[in-house]
């Protein structure tokens, strides 16, 4: 016995629940997944905001990665409502129990003025270059486009900044800012892998720009050949999505911290000493800031830097790459960041350990005016204290 297209359509309509665009919008607000089953070229022309995409021809292969829970509500749509009906049948056949097809499809959705967006389209070269990212559901084309639109600022193109910058450039973070006023020295090359022997004496910003340009032409490097200070910090950090702290003086670190808190920009912080490194993320008002951790700097004679104490070259390499990892997580908004946690790496022991960091409600940089009285006496709020105060520069 043969079946016509009309027979198949009638069977599908009998089996699958159809919903209107308004009902689909409501379902999405209540947590249902919207799944676009059109071809990739159609998706790239524009799609329902917040929808995910699997072409109908790949739906059997890819749906379980996207929707592992077979009982979760899913609304499928295509251009006009026919392909999504047949794709819904496939999902029902796989045991998905709460599947609906949106009648009228994207055409109706768009003509009714409901929210849709056009994704940043990756070029053929970019699809090839970032193919391993595109395979990861947490990154994908959307995440990669987000990275290409992102701006990361490095304070220092040194031991921590070098490896972190190389990997962020490789990952396709579209804009990389570098604040450094130094020139490449022979003693840098043991760990500052973005520089080269034939660039000794060349400005670090110039050297870093050259290496990144050779690695990935998608990345624009913005060189800030100046020393970060109170007078320029706001201008330097303006517009960046994340900041990598590779500073080597306390003065710079406090200046950066206070300005980043005021601007609401997360700072991925690391420091190294001989065989050890520390790492955390300072997310303004979500977790502690550097001043919560250390309200005042130590006197200079009690805190030697690398130039005095020395460092095993790979240690800033390890810590810089952990910084890069945390930075990508911040940019992609995935995973659990190290905000509120300090990770310590001991290279000689081959061990990582973790400490809990607390936000100080009385912090002069990020405190929210809530002052905790000694135990047992309760908490009160100072109503006149502003949410962010300019930090006391210690």
């Amino acid at each position: 016995m043969t079946k016509s297209y009309r027979d198949l359509l009638r069977e599908a309509r009998a089996e699958i629940r159809e919903v209107s665009t308004a009902e689909a919008e409501l379902a999405a607000e209540r947590g249902a997944s919207l799944l676009d089953v059109r071809e990739e070229a159609e998706w790239e022309q524009g799609h329902v905001t917040g929808a995910r995409h699997i072409s109908k021809s790949y739906i059997e292969q890819e749906i379980e990665a996207l929707a592992p829970d077979h009982a979760a509500p899913i609304v499928l749509y295509c251009a006009g409502g026919i392909r999504s009906l047949f794709a819904s049948q496939t999902l029902a056949g796989m045991g998905y129990t709460d599947v609906a097809s949106m009648s009228g499809g994207f055409q109706a959705w768009k003509s009714e003025g409901r929210a849709w967006s056009q994704p940043t389209v990756l070029s053929a070269d970019q699809k090839q270059r970032y193919s391993r990212h595109l395979l990861i559901p947490e990154v994908g084309a959307e995440g990669q486009a987000r990275l290409l639109d992102s701006k990361a600022l490095f304070i220092g193109a040194g031991g921590l900044g070098s490896p972190a910058m190389l990997y962020l450039a490789a990952a396709g973070v579209g804009t990389i800012g570098v604040v450094d006023f130094d020139v490449v020295d022979a003693s840098n090359l043991q760990r500052q892998v973005i520089h080269r022997t034939d660039r000794i004496g060349v400005k670090k910003t110039v050297s870093a720009t050259q290496t990144i340009a050779e690695l990935n032409p998608d990345v624009r490097v913005v060189a800030h050949e100046e020393m970060l200070g109170e007078d320029n910090v706001e201008r330097l950090i303006d517009g960046y999505d994340v900041i990598f702290d590779g500073t080597d003086t306390f003065e710079t670190r406090y200046t950066l911290n206070d300005a980043a808190v005021r601007a609401g920009i997360p700072v991925v912080h690391a420091s190294v000493f001989r065989f050890e490194g520390q790492l955390t993320v300072f997310k303004p008002h979500e977790g502690p800031c550097y001043r919560c951790l250390y309200p005042t700097p130590p006197p200079p004679e009690l805190a030697p830097g690398c130039s005095v104490a020395g460092v095993l070259g790979v240690v800033p390499g390890v810590m810089g790459l952990l910084q890069a990892t945390e930075g990508l997580k911040v940019l992609l908004d995935i995973g659990d960041s190290l905000s509120g946690r300090l990770l310590i790496y001991d290279a000689l022991d081959g061990a990582f350990s973790e400490l809990q960091l607390q936000r100080d409600p009385r912090c002069p940089a990020c405190g929210d005016g809530e002052v905790t009285t000694p135990a047992g006496e309760g908490v009160f709020t100072l109503p006149t204290t502003p949410a962010t105060t300019t930090g006391v520069n210690a």
Binding site: G246, R274, F275, Y294, P298, L357, Q358
Partner: protein, 91 residues
């Protein structure tokens, strides 16, 4: 006895040891025991009036004692005390 982990920046003043066993039932007593053994650490850790320097944090089993009972935080047995001064080095 409680183990106090000495951070790399302070090891020169602590006989180049990574861990020092100390006596005492509180963080304050444990630090006194440590400073008796290594007096050179004193100015790094305590102020002249005997409270903790603000550029050094002390953790007991991963928790900051400032949010516990400060120097009165009890220690003993398997507890691990970690000293964590602010570190400068980035480059």
């Amino acid at each position: 006895m409680t183990a106090v982990r000495i951070p790399p920046v302070l090891r020169a003043q602590a006989g180049n040891q990574k861990k020092v066993e100390v006596a005492g039932a509180t963080v304050g007593e444990a630090l006194d025991s440590l400073l008796d053994q290594y007096p050179g650490l004193r100015e790094q850790i305590l102020t002249e009036d005997g409270s903790l320097n603000r550029f050094v944090n002390v953790y007991v089993n991963g928790r900051d004692v400032r949010y516990e009972q400060e120097l009165a935080t009890p220690v003993g047995g398997q507890d691990e005390v970690i000293l964590l001064p602010a570190m400068a080095g980035g480059r």
